[in-house]
């Protein structure tokens, strides 16, 4: 399949179309919305579903030594990416040190919904990733936040609003990480047979729920975009598209070096390329209160997320197929 066919197939999937509906509704200033309590629950559901599936996969395939390498590589990558992002931001955009550090935390950390969409893209071409990629995702959430805080401290010693220890605690006990990792272990323990009675909820409804959640993400991204003019200039916009490509390229080579499957490679690239929009913003409000949320949220949710969802994911799949197919 050519990239064009892949991208078109992706864009015309219900999941992406509902995202676009959300963006359109927001730009037209419709009052369409998904209540916050429900959006939070759908996010929790997606984490539980991904976690369970990953755990059951590991129960079926057995544990592999590669798990350790992938986790180490993921953690290192998550710590490394903010440095690249920070340098790029400082060199090419006018962003001050504190805001640049805050943005860089988002790009090193991961977006679980981008992961969910990536799994959906994989399943549409009949592929799966290594089950333990779920654990890798969880591990990649925090190091970037620490790294960004260190960067900010070096540049603006007074900016920090919280200690590193506090922050590590906060970030690694983040509800969505716990739900993901917990469900992963539960899936691993109960295995395929234990999954069966809960499969009608956690497996069969996954894609439908993803549609509703992405409708909501579209609404939020659209509302962010409507205000983007105020906070983003062309250089920041360019960063929001260039950075996932850079992260993805680095991840692709690491995945190849480790020897991940096509599915695993695609997911590893996706994780690196995705920008956090839950864990990182919350951590930044605590750790770097002076950084402006409108900048990092608009960039992550309004630029990088839509790019990944529409064009990024098929691209990462092609890259994975090319490298590992």
């Amino acid at each position: 399949m050519s990239f064009f066919e892949l991208a078109l197939g992706n864009i015309l999937s219900p999941v992406v179309l509902f995202f676009m509906l959300g963006v359109g509704a927001a730009l037209a200033r419709s009052d369409l919305s998904v209540p916050e309590a429900v959006a939070k629950t759908l996010a929790l559901f997606l984490m539980m579903s991904i976690g369970l599936k990953g755990g059951v996969e590991v129960a079926k395939q057995g544990m592999s030594a590669m798990l350790v390498w992938t986790i180490v590589a993921g953690a290192a990558l998550s710590f490394l990416l903010p440095i690249i992002a920070y340098a790029l931001l400082r060199a090419t955009t006018g962003l001050d040190a504190v805001n640049a550090a805050a943005v860089s935390a988002h790009y090193g950390s991961i977006s679980a919904v981008t992961l969910a969409a990536g799994i959906d893209v994989l399943s549409r071409v009949g592929l799966v990733a290594e089950g333990y990629m779920v654990a890798v995702a969880a591990v990649m959430e925090t190091p970037a936040i620490i790294c960004a805080l260190l960067l900010a401290r070096r540049a603006a010693p007074k900016a920090a609003g919280a200690s590193t220890a506090e922050l590590v605690r906060e970030a690694s006990l983040n509800g969505s990480v716990i739900a993901l990792v917990g469900s992963f272990f539960i899936g691993w323990i109960v295995g395929p047979d234990g999954l069966k009675p809960v499969a009608p909820l956690f497996i069969d409804l996954f894609r439908g729920v993803l549609c509703i959640f992405l409708l909501d993400m579209g609404l939020v991204a659209g509302r962010g975009l409507a205000r983007a003019g105020k906070h983003l200039d062309m250089r920041l916009l360019a960063f929001g598209i260039a950075m996932p490509l850079i992260s993805g390229a680095i991840a692709a080579f690491i995945a190849a070096a480790i020897g991940l499957s096509v599915g695993g490679t695609m997911i590893f690239i996706t994780l690196a390329a995705s920008a956090s929009y839950i864990a990182a913003p919350a951590a930044m409000r605590i750790a770097l209160p002076e950084a402006e949320p409108a900048i990092y949220l608009t960039l992550s949710l309004g630029v990088t997320f839509p790019f990944n969802l529409t064009l990024g994911l098929p691209l990462y799949l092609m890259a994975a197929q090319y490298l590992r197919g």
Binding site: E36, D216, R223, K230, P281, A282, R285, I286, P293
Partner: protein
């Protein structure tokens, strides 16, 4: 009925700073506080609305804390540096209570 003069501290602050503010108030040994949700608002950066968020990281909450007038200065001084850095507004007003010894 006899009433006693107290101070009512009202603080609107961003959601992620909730825990931090609570810790500061606890350290000041206030007798308690209540937290109310805020669903929308407007400020320096224009309007925001709960509906336009995937995460409560951007939302706000309101603290209400009834404090004895003899403590209010100390509490404000403890809270001020924390909220100064953040999106927050703080007001103090006069109220009467019936159970004076409670606060």
């Amino acid at each position: 009925m006899q009433t006693f003069a107290k101070k009512r501290l009202e603080i609107v602050i961003e959601h992620p700073a909730r825990k931090g503010l609570a810790t500061i108030l606890d350290a000041q040994k206030v007798t308690g506080y209540s937290v109310l949700p805020v669903i929308a608002g407007s400020g320096k950066y224009g309007p925001w609305d709960e509906a336009g968020q995937v995460t409560s990281a951007e939302g706000m909450v309101m603290f209400i804390c009834i404090v004895d007038p003899t403590h209010i200065d100390r509490v404000i001084e403890a809270v001020y540096p924390f909220i100064q850095l953040r999106k927050a507004i703080m007001t103090v007003s006069d109220v009467q209570v019936v159970r004076g010894e409670r606060f």
